[in-house]
């Protein structure tokens, strides 16, 4: 038996991941040992501190360009940029999750067996401040996402996928109000997610088969091997294309691209709103980070083959998202379809095989994350006696009742619609520009046309808020607590600043737009 050789591990480069996972483990211990009434503060501070520490490590590592832990993890420009993006957006999401002032006991179920707003529920909310298991779950999910964008082989990627997906399934089920909807959403997400994972795993198996038989190289699922195999493998190309298709399906499911988007509206609607925001911002970054790495590193040489297929998927995604958004009557479902359409625009960036395309996509991810978190932050505030009032008809006349929040939401919607002076414009420009330069004009045309369609539902909300008379049922806007206010302000200011002066972040993204291979 030969001696097992341990791979060298660069702990500094892995530090952000290790910090998040470590914090999650500590969080589990906190659940076990800290008294119930103090857990909320401790857990929130622990999670935020961990995010900050991880972010600090990302900044300190910003010059790293290496592959470590065997060939499992690649720490390079895109990894660091996207990890940074995930951490910043996750911090905002944590602020929303930690909010306890808007609703006593927070947005999360305290005890699943107790009816919301019953006497017992209130007593529990006063004492315990809602479920605090949320924080370790979120921290685990963040850790998984950090690995997901850094994964340098398909197995690590698969494990990371599961690490961040499983906590998300749970988080979706934790809504305090409309609990059945929430649990149904979680179950759907779990079942379909497992289904998609199976596709991914099958794809990994086929690719593994494809890599075998290259002279002088052992079979493997790390990206360097796959890249080499695409060029020189003697195995049947059917294996490659079937494997690539199945891998793509697994990733496109997470990215919410049509026709694998079907879970999105139900889950976005059912999940507690802060978790929806977290998924819309961070999961999107993670999923597209992985897509970028798989298609730009592993399958780069096959780009002539996958571009038409993924291009059709992109167009379909934009169309489905935009067209279906038109008839939505629930603000969370509307934002879900908007997020689907945005996945289509992001795919346009993924399919522009240039440095600019890569940096534009990364810029888009971060800019969109800020806007979408701000949007969901506003959604958490518009409420009546039964919790959030998400039906659109209830938003009529909101501009008269609370001009400030209606203005903020209008601004965010204009950003989604891609109006200049908002990040929505600069980020669309950042992905469409390179796509056009790389000869993907048809994708850009589809993108612009669907943007026009998509502007309609956004403007419908704006018109409804400002030009309708407030009715009996128009809800009031709750005064946000400090945490929500902070998250909202960060999101709105970032949307504005990235729209007016996008150069610093774009330069950062351009400087980071180089994969190690």
């Amino acid at each position: 038996m030969s001696e097992l050789k341990l791979p060298s591990i660069d702990y500094a480069a892995l530090a952000p991941i290790l910090i998040m996972l470590g914090a999650a483990l500590v969080g589990v211990l906190v659940e076990a040992f800290v008294p119930r009434h103090r857990r909320h503060v401790v857990q929130l501070s622990l999670a935020l501190l961990a995010v900050l520490a991880a972010l600090t490590m990302v900044v300190l590592n910003s010059d790293d360009r290496l592959i470590t832990a065997g060939s499992a993890i690649a720490v390079d420009g895109p990894t660091l940029f996207l990890q940074g993006g995930i951490l910043v957006l996750a911090a905002m999401a944590l602020l929303l999750i930690g909010e306890r002032a808007v609703e006593r006991g927070g947005a999360f179920v305290a005890h699943a067996a107790i009816t919301a707003e019953s006497a017992e529920d209130r007593r529990q909310a006063d004492g315990a401040g809602g479920t605090t298991e949320v924080y370790p779950l979120v921290t685990f999910a963040i850790g998984g996402m950090l690995i997901f964008v850094a994964a340098n082989d398909l197995l690590t990627m698969f494990i990371a996928l599961e690490v961040f997906s499983l906590p998300l399934y749970l988080l979706c089920a934790l809504a305090r109000r409309r609990r059945l909807l929430s649990q149904e959403a979680a179950l759907k997400y779990f079942m379909l997610g497992a289904y998609a994972s199976a596709f991914f795993l099958f794809g990994v198996a086929l690719i593994y088969g494809f890599t075998s038989g290259i002279p002088g190289r052992s079979a493997g699922v790390d990206f360097a091997t796959i890249n080499a195999a695409v060029n020189e493998s003697p195995a049947s190309r059917v294996l490659l294309f079937a494997g690539m298709a199945l891998l793509a399906i697994g990733l496109l499911f997470k990215a919410a691209a049509a026709p694998f988007h079907v879970w999105t509206p139900d889950v976005y609607q059912g999940a507690p709103t802060p978790v929806t925001g977290f998924m819309a911002a961070c999961t999107k970054v993670a999923a597209f980070g992985a897509l970028l790495r798989v298609f730009h590193v592993a399958f780069a040489s096959a780009s002539w083959d996958f571009t038409p297929v993924l291009g059709i998927v992109a167009v379909l995604t934009m169309l489905v998202g935009a067209v279906l958004a038109v008839t939505q009557t629930d603000i969370k479902r509307l934002l879900a379809y908007s997020s689907i359409a945005n996945a289509g625009y992001l795919l346009v960036g993924v399919l522009a095989p240039s440095k600019d395309g890569l940096s534009g996509t990364m810029f888009y991810l971060v800019a969109y994350g800020f806007s979408v978190l701000a949007a969901f932050a506003v959604v958490t505030l518009v409420r009546d006696g039964d919790g959030e009032a998400t039906h659109l008809s209830r938003w009529a006349g909101l501009g008269r009742r609370s001009p400030f929040f209606a203005s903020v939401f209008t601004f965010i919607l204009l950003a989604f619609a891609g109006i200049p002076l908002t990040s929505g414009f600069t980020s669309k420009f950042a992905v469409f520009g390179p796509a056009l330069a790389e000869g993907r004009a048809w994708l850009v045309v589809a993108g612009v046309l669907t943007s026009m369609v998509l502007a309609f539902p956004y403007l419908r909300v704006v018109v409804m808020m400002w030009l309708s008379e407030p009715g009996e049922s128009t809800p009031t806007v709750a005064v946000p607590g400090g945490l929500t206010a902070a998250a909202l302000m960060i999101g709105v200011v970032a949307t504005l600043v990235l729209g007016v002066a996008p150069a610093p972040l774009l330069d950062l993204a351009t400087g980071a737009a180089e994969f190690v291979r």
């Binding site: 179950l187 759907k188 079942m191 379909l192 289904y195 998609a196 596709f199 190309r237 059917v238 490659l240 294309f241 079937a242 690539m244 298709a245 199945l246 793509a248 399906i249 499911f253 049509a258 026709p259 694998f260 079907v262 879970w263 509206p265 139900d266 002539w304 083959d305 996958f306 038409p308 297929v309 059709i312 998927v313 489905v320 067209v323 279906l324 958004a325 038109v326 008839t327 369609v453 309609f456």
Partner: protein, 652 residues
């Protein structure tokens, strides 16, 4: 005729250079800024400024006048009498660089003095005239805005600045014509003025585009220095478009119809904007652009023809009108026709036109304010058939109006004699048979002017009383109104002589306006022309006196073809209505129909298709995991199939 229509440059354009403004002249921007700030204060403060707002307005113009006077004397002492002050880059896009700069030269200095001087007197008059109007502060706000825009127009050092001022005065004019916006006639008149001006403004804008396209600049000095390099056709088009702009603003044929209607505004507005200053902007534009117009003889012929035609039209229509302000308005149209005639003749006649412009500013403002004074005493009656015998009741108004009347018909030694007669003589100085044509028109115009102005004067101040019942005792206007009248009357008496002896020399410093002062060979001896023009004037006066000394009927009488035509503005309004308005309305209806059925149908159809598609697709979103899984499976099969198809070479 062939010789006239050649496109050859009439005289080569020399290089034009401007000195930099320094010292006291560096503050000429204050001329524009002071009225502008005052306007902003008046309009923004709202009712809080009601009590003192009018005095702020008056003093702003007064200060501007003093500043203008000081700058004027400063300029006199300079070697190069054209100073430029570049404030900042206004527009910088690619090759287009437009300076936010001012040019203070003899021509603009004269205009500054006219605008602020006459403007100050009219402001003063308006304090009293508008004292019973609730909107007096707003009125002074618009008035100051007008002065600021007009000063910017004459002070800009490039065509874009001129255009900014041009649109600014257009706006102020619109706001002031429809100042009493609750009167439908005032609102309509404002719209009419605005729309007709747009036609001219479009011409000016296109002219500026052409300058940029062909010369790459809109700065006066660069345009004038390089205009000689352009082809004759380009210069012709450029000049015609500038002329279109000028005719729009100055109420010249074919865009004259708005000016008489503009009299719906308060009388001080008619005096300041629609008699003394704004309507002369067209003359300023042509005088300023003289290197362009002098570069093409055809262009000059067009300008002369426009001037001659308009001056006769104005006289004929003016003789048939019964509204005191409309008669004066048509008289303005006619007098500006003289100025166009002058600037069209070119050479030394530029200066003559400017002299007439300045002199006209005095006597026409004088008569408009006099008309206002009459209306003030007669309960806003404007029909001259219902006046008569007012000389005894309004001595000051009568005397000052008389000075204006004598001045406009050109009785020596009042100012009209010194300003109009030389233009008539210059028209006779053309080289060929057109001398007879244009000289004859100018001479005929002088006789007609004498006729209709005498008719106006006699019917208003002399003859039997024909007042309406409710008026028992007409009163003279208060001091605040008569003092400006007296000052303007003095101007009407003396300005002509003073100007005709000093302005031509003064203007030589402005690029291209020097011209040769050598007497042109006229087709008739100069003394004969002078005698003739005095003769037709006396004839006109005598005829009008004979016809109207005993008053006139108080209702319109049936009349012959010519008088009927004149009462209907020579059918120009009917022509406009038939040729532009009716087809315009038809075109609009057709477009609305096309828009409703075609464009909207397409758009709504698309929207309905999207909405319908959305509604159908929504049904796929059943909420059942099994159907979601099926949809994902279908998608997966399709994607795998597509990849395999690519691999098999079917898709790539």
């Amino acid at each position: 005729m062939g010789e006239i229509l050649t496109n050859a440059p009439a005289e080569p354009a020399g290089a034009v250079t401007y000195a930099t403004a320094d010292g006291l002249l560096a503050s000429v921007w204050l001329l524009v800024a002071i009225p502008l700030v005052s306007a902003a204060v008046l309009l923004l403060l709202g009712r809080r400024a009601d009590r003192w707002g009018h005095w702020l307005g008056v003093s702003a113009i007064g200060v501007s006048f003093v500043l203008g006077l000081v700058s004027f004397f400063q300029l006199r002492g300079l070697e190069n009498k054209s100073v430029e002050l570049s404030l900042w880059d206004f527009i910088t896009v690619g090759d287009l660089r437009v300076d936010f700069g001012l040019l203070f030269d003899p021509l603009s200095a004269l205009f500054v003095l006219l605008i602020t001087g006459v403007g100050f007197l009219i402001h003063l008059y308006a304090v009293e005239y508008m004292s019973h109007d609730g909107g007096r502060r707003r009125f002074f706000g618009y008035f100051n805005l007008f002065v600021a825009a007009m000063l910017l127009l004459v002070l800009g050092n490039n065509y874009v600045m001129l255009y900014v001022g041009w649109e600014g005065v257009g706006l102020a004019s619109y706001l002031l014509i429809s100042f009493w916006q609750d009167r439908p006639s005032a609102a309509t008149a404002g719209k009419k003025a605005f729309l007709m001006n747009r036609v001219g403004d479009a011409g000016l804008a296109i002219a500026i585009f052409i300058m940029f396209a062909t010369l790459g600049t809109t700065q006066y000095d660069e345009v004038f220095s390089n205009v000689g390099a352009l082809t004759g056709g380009t210069v012709l088009v450029l000049g015609l478009l500038l002329l279109l702009g000028a005719t729009g603003k100055s109420g010249q044929f074919p865009l004259q119809a708005w000016l008489p209607d503009a009299m719906e505004g308060p009388t001080p507005v008619s005096a300041l904007i629609h008699a003394a200053t704004m309507v002369t902007a067209g003359v300023y534009l042509i005088a300023r652009s003289n290197p362009v117009f002098s570069a093409n003889t055809t262009l000059q012929l067009v300008v002369v023809s426009v001037g001659a035609l308009t001056l006769l039209m104005g006289c004929i229509i003016g003789a048939a009108k019964d509204d005191i302000k409309r008669v004066l308005a048509w008289s303005t149209v006619s007098q500006i026709g003289y100025m166009f005639l002058g600037v069209g003749l070119g050479g030394g006649a530029y200066a003559l036109a400017i002299i007439h412009l300045l002199a006209h500013g005095f006597f026409k403002a004088n008569m408009f304010l006099g008309a206002g004074s009459v209306m003030h005493g007669m309960k806003d009656q404007v029909d001259i058939r219902r006046f008569g015998g007012l000389a005894k009741h309004m001595r000051t108004t009568w005397l000052t109006f008389m000075m204006g009347w004598l001045a406009i018909i050109g009785i020596p030694p009042l100012s009209g004699y010194f300003s109009k007669e030389p233009i008539i003589a210059a028209a006779f100085g053309r080289d060929d048979w057109t001398a007879w044509l244009f000289g004859g028109a100018a001479l005929l115009g002088a006789g007609l002017t004498a006729f209709y102005m005498t008719r106006l004067f006699v019917l208003t101040f002399h003859g039997p009383k024909r007042w309406t019942e409710e008026i028992e005792h007409p009163h003279e206007s208060p001091k605040l109104m008569t003092v400006p009248l007296i000052l303007l009357a003095l101007g009407s008496i003396g300005a002509g002589f003073l100007l005709s002896t000093s302005v031509p020399d003064w203007l030589t410093a402005t690029a291209g306006l020097g011209g040769e002062h050598a007497e042109h060979e006229t087709v008739l001896p100069h003394i004969v022309i002078t005698t003739l023009s005095l003769l037709v004037t006396v004839l006109g006066v005598g005829l009008a006196w004979f016809l109207f000394r005993n008053g006139t009927a108080t209702a319109p009488q049936p009349a012959g073809v010519l008088v009927t035509a004149a009462r209907r503005n020579l059918y120009t309004d009917a022509f406009n209505e038939a040729v532009f308005e009716k087809p315009g309305i038809f075109l609009t209806r057709a477009l609305v129909f096309l828009d409703n059925r075609g464009v909207d149908g397409l758009v709504n159809g698309l929207a309905a298709a999207v909405g319908g598609g959305s509604g159908r697709l929504r049904r796929l979103q059943t909420g059942f995991v099994r159907s979601y899984a099926t949809s994902i499976l279908t998608g997966a099969l399709l994607v795998v199939a597509a990849f395999l198809a690519v691999q098999a070479g079917w898709l790539a």
